[in-house]
């Protein structure tokens, strides 16, 4: 398999697919027109060449390689899980086929449930990454970014990539297994360029601004349902790190008491406490420091 980081720009399944980057850029352009004071920060060399940004860039190149090796085996298991769930249901309940829904209705329902369940499990895994000490040791890698840029999205420890891969396999595999059991091959999903319709639409709505210094909020009403870029930036703030865990939807944060509206926060400082930041200065630190922390935790 060819490994080429630039292929990420051409793959709609990637956060930095060119169209998603372009849409974010256009939104940022309009936003900065109305908020000229922010132009100085967003366009400054200091931001894009900050040591934290440089580390993001190099870590991204590295992540392309390890994802090929680590995530690929997980890809296969998604289908295996769907097959397993389907066979278990067949053995338990015999052959069932719901014929009350049309092909279009099954597709619409499946597309929606995939999106909602995926976002729900994403919220909970993200939350666990913050509250379970050994998981937090790995997730700190992501929060150690002092400044944000779209590639900060990839500043994630391989163990965390693996966990999210399992989350994907389990949730998508489970839903697919249940749907195939109930509807057989009528199961299909609406997509754009092979990406779930909802994921594609929400990715177009400034997903790359989540890791940026464009302080774009959606207002309280919309932020009850959708996470705005500014809400995610608040999540990266030292003082509000245990809020706004949502991926696309903020309803989970609302329901489980972790939501903060962007209008309620004025002071945002990215990264971890100073004493911790020194442990995440290099590629080697990002990869190995979490293991040192966990080793020390076990030793205690």
């Amino acid at each position: 398999m060819e490994i080429n980081p630039f292929e990420y720009l051409m793959d709609p399944h990637r956060r930095i697919y060119w169209l998603f980057l372009l849409s974010s850029l256009m939104i940022a352009f309009v936003f900065l027109k109305f908020h000229p004071k922010q132009q100085r920060i967003v366009l400054s060399k200091k931001l894009w060449l900050h040591p934290s940004s440089l580390l993001d860039y190099s870590y991204f190149i590295f992540s392309v390689f390890f994802k090929i090796m680590i995530i690929l085996p997980v890809i296969i298991s998604t289908k295996e899980i769907a097959l397993f769930v389907n066979i278990v249901l067949l053995n338990q309940y015999g052959f069932v086929r719901i014929e009350a829904l049309s092909y279009t209705q099954v597709m619409a329902l499946f597309t929606l449930i995939l999106f909602i369940l995926s976002d729900f499990t994403r919220y909970w895994l993200h939350r666990l990454l913050h509250f379970v000490p050994w998981l937090w040791a790995f997730h700190k890698v992501h929060h150690s970014a002092k400044v944000l840029n779209p590639l900060t999205f990839y500043r994630v420890h391989p163990i965390e990539f693996l966990l999210f891969g399992f989350r994907y396999s389990l949730s998508i595999g489970f839903v697919t297994g249940v749907f195939v059991f109930l509807f057989g091959s009528l199961v299909n999903s609406y997509d754009i360029l092979g990406v779930n319709l909802f994921v594609f639409i929400f990715s177009l709505l400034g997903s790359n601004l989540r890791h940026s210094h464009i302080r774009l909020g959606f207002g309280n009403v919309i932020e009850l349902f959708l996470i705005s870029p500014l809400q995610h930036q608040i999540h990266h703030s030292k003082n509000h790190i245990n809020t706004n865990f949502g991926g696309f939807l903020s309803v989970w944060d609302y329901l489980f008491g972790t939501l903060i509206f962007s209008k309620n926060v004025t002071n945002i400082k990215f990264g971890l406490e100073k004493t911790q930041m020194k442990n995440f200065q290099s590629l080697k630190d990002l990869l190995f420091f979490p293991f040192i922390v966990i080793y020390k935790q076990i030793k205690k």
Binding site: H13, I75, I87, H142
Partner: protein, 320 residues
């Protein structure tokens, strides 16, 4: 990597397999054959030729199973959803029709009124009448004719339906492929679990309780014949020499090895069925057929999962 190739392949297979030639040769061809067989059976009943009747009933069973194996009409128009149940009540109806048919035979009621239930005019009822009753009695003969003519009328209705909805079937390849695959999967499950597993004592319901008389056509001895017809029809869909089928397209996409696993399971099932007699369900031959049809069912499910490309696509690890 192998799996990724299969994903691409099977999407293409499913999208391209449904052609007009396939529709005419398999779906229309089989229903025309079934109509012809029921007409011949009606002639034989009229002539009270018991030897011919028994052979011709076997032919009708075989051709009906072929129609049932690729029955898609209910998906094209829900008005046609129940027609197979008017022809065949195997596992579709819990009532015991034999005592009811005995009552009808022994009564003096007008047959048209006495045979008021759909189940009285099914192929299962016909089997009971033809193989356990004396056709020299006019009332029994008339019953057999009513049943056979009822089956013929439903088969004609199916043929008309296919002619009406052929364009609907062909206009959306994606939908056509989905319902075709669904039919194959449903048929394979029923074959494995009901037609073989229940008889061999391998299904959950009848675990370790084998009984040859639980077979679909135990009375006439056509159960294996029916199974062969089902498998042969599946071969028409995935492994035919006459037109482009699932297997051919898979080879075009250089993933013949993977698709051959499904064909292999089907071929094994055909061989196992060909080696069986009506009384072999409860021995090792029955077990072998159960295992190979189980492999076939799983192969179809794998095809279905592969069709869902997103199942195998991992989005960016979305930690945020």
């Amino acid at each position: 990597m192998r799996y990724l190739v299969v994903i691409i392949l099977l999407v293409s297979i499913v999208v391209n397999a449904v052609s007009e030639k396939f529709f005419n040769q398999v779906i229309i061809g089989n229903i025309v054959l079934a109509i012809k067989n029921v007409e011949l059976l009606i002639d034989d009943i009229n002539q009270a030729n018991s030897t011919r009747i028994k052979i011709q009933f076997g032919n009708l069973v075989s051709s009906w199973k072929k129609v049932e194996t690729t029955y898609l009409l209910g998906d094209l128009n829900e008005d046609y959803l129940d027609i197979p149940r008017y022809i065949d009540i195997f596992h579709g109806n819990n009532e015991e029709i034999r005592p009811q048919l005995d009552l009808i035979i022994n009564s003096n009621d007008e047959l048209f009124n006495a045979m008021y239930k759909y189940s009285h005019k099914t192929i299962n009822a016909l089997e009971y009448v033809l193989f356990t009753k004396d056709l020299s009695h006019q009332r029994v003969k008339n019953m057999a004719l009513i049943i056979a003519k009822s089956i013929k009328s439903y088969l004609l209705e199916i043929l008309d339906g296919y002619n009406i909805y052929q364009s609907k079937f062909l206009e959306s390849e994606q939908y056509a492929s989905a319902i075709l695959l669904n039919t194959l999967i449903a048929g394979t499950y029923k074959l494995k679990e009901w037609r073989v597993g229940d008889v061999a004592g391998l299904s959950k319901k009848f675990k370790n309780k084998p009984n040859n008389y639980r077979a679909e056509y135990a009375t006439s001895g056509n159960s294996v014949n029916a199974i062969k017809a089902i498998l042969e029809t599946q071969a028409q869909v995935i492994n035919s020499l006459d037109y482009q089928d699932f297997g051919d397209i898979s080879r075009q996409f250089k993933a013949g090895k993977e698709i051959n696993q499904a064909i292999s399971a089907l071929n094994d099932s055909i061989v196992n069925a060909n080696n069986m007699s009506e009384f072999d369900f409860i021995n090792d031959k029955g077990k072998r057929l159960y295992r190979s049809t189980n492999r076939l069912m799983k192969a179809y499910y794998i095809s279905l999962m592969n069709k869902l490309g997103f199942v195998s696509k991992v989005l960016d690890a979305d930690g945020d």
